[in-house]
Amino acid sequence: MKKKLPIEEALEQKLQQIPQPDQETSWQAMKLLLEKDKRRPAFIFRRRNVIALLIILLSAALLLWKNNDRSSLNKTAKDSIVKQEISNESNKNSEQSNENQNKENITTTTEINKADKAVQIKPTSSSNTAAANSSSELSEQTSQGTNADGIQKVKKKKRASKGRLNANVIAATLSDDPSSVSKEENEEKINEKKKKKTKSALQSNLAINSAIPSELNVTSAVDHDPVMKTDEVVSNRNVNLLPMDSSSNAAIVPKMKTLAINETIKDSLNLSDTTIVTNTAKRKNDKKKPFIFSAGIGFKQQIPLSQQKISRYGFNGRNSIVNDYIPSVYFRVEKEKKWFTLLELDLAAPRMKEPVVYSQQTSVNNIIAQQKITRLELRKIFYQKIGLSYHRFIKPSLSVGAGLNWSKLYRTISTKNVTIKNLQNQSEETNTQVIPSNFNDSFLFKSVPSFTLQTNYEWRRFNLGLRWTSDLQPYIKFTRPSGEIVERKDQVLELLLYIRLWKSKRN
């Protein structure tokens, strides 16, 4: 059961009679408050929430963008490898086609000059054409598939072509010149041997370059064969472009067209190559300087300026400065060796202040001839601080930057000096008490935005910095007994040490 003292009951009764302020005036103030509240935007549209939302969205976008950039870089790297292979192949092919063109010119001139030896040449050209046909069929076959079945079919086709070659050889044997037959026989044997080699090369190429278009596979396979470097190559390249004619004369015109087309393809490939090269170069540059994300902790030591005094009391009022060294947490986004942005969160960040007497009460007791002076003096303020700054590297390890801070009042350290003065003998007795408080009285501003200039020197995972901060608005406002309104802004010089604890991997 609660017991109230008689004095308390009397107090309760007496306090019920407190005179009231004017009701109508209060209601007018209430009306204003209601109007203000009505105009207040919805929760989501309030300034702080919008800022918070923007920060979240920006960081999310940054992360997404970074991930996308990484995946696209991987993709483009793969593409560029494939395209480089294609361009290499096309270069080879163009060189080959040039050679073929020269050889063709030579062949046609020999055909014109040696018109009397047409019988000897024709079988050769027909055999070449047959070989070309067979190889074109072969290329068609390979373009259909790259599996083992395809290879077996190719083998069958080759056997058939071999049969046709033999028939041609027989036809040539029936001709007048026996020496030419023997030469042709020898050539056929050499060709057969080399085709076997080509077949094995083809198989290996099929296995390796399954991702590369089949036309190129065959071309590259043919490129390995010195025997097939004449008409066959041209016909191979035109499997999908031109219909083949068995007669060598008919094949000449399309061949020329083919060469022209090949040139255009070559040009286009070369053009695309240059674009690929420039793109890859750009990406390489981007790759060289990727965004690096890092996070860590920071320690700071304030250097007293002008009348600022070092206070050895922590935010809990104890005589310990351990609380002053609660590390801040930072998050950094860096464009390598170019610039970086720093987001820093500092909890219970101390600020030494020049001592400000914000309250003084004097009472005189004439009976005992005693004067009592109570003074409250502000010594230190602790803020919850968030800062965003942008820095540029002026040297590889040296950077300068500027930013904005927003500090929310957390706690203050004041000293309460009670001086009791004996008016008779003028003796004085002073008691000092440290008062930690989490109030934000009317004379102290709840939040203080500030501007910072900072320079940093980086060495490995350590970052040594010097920061100058200037308040953008006063942190204190009070009225002197004379009626003078006093506002004070603050400046802070801090020595910083950042230690990086985490760093994202380079792309």
């Binding site: 609660k2 309760e12 005179p19 009701q23 109030f439």
Partner: protein
Amino acid sequence: MDLTNDIIRGCKHGDRKAQEQLYKNFYASMINICQRYTGNEQDAVEVMNNGFLKVFNNIQRYESGKGTLYTWIRTVVVHCCLDYLKLRQRQSIHEEIYPEAEEIQVEPEAISNMKVNQLLLFVRQLPAATRAVINLYIMEGYTHKEIASILNISEGTSKWHLSEARKNLKQMISLQEVKL
């Protein structure tokens, strides 16, 4: 009762007249509470208005079955006063020191003879936490357990604040008596 229901209904619809009626009906009792907790008249009006703003914004939550409208509004306003004190609290309330109060004898008549404003000034001179405890204990009738729960302190601390309040008030009143 019907009038109260009409006022509540009007307030739920944001009717300014109903709000005015409600405000003026409870003004005297609420401003009295606020004046005891706060440091001056202006702050008292400000805190009370904030309390009423909460009342108007949350009147849908009021359930007549659970208590009277007066009790509900008083609870809201007292909590606003406590928020005000928390922000302006000048002394740490985490100290667990319980010195014995000095025994100074003050007669209840001395209080009765005093001016209300003078007494209010004494109460206002008390540290914020102590003021909160004495108001909650003496004026609102809360127990130490409830005070401890409201202010997030221990019961012992609440007792200590009450003892401090008694001691300080007695001291101030006795000094006043001497002066008189």
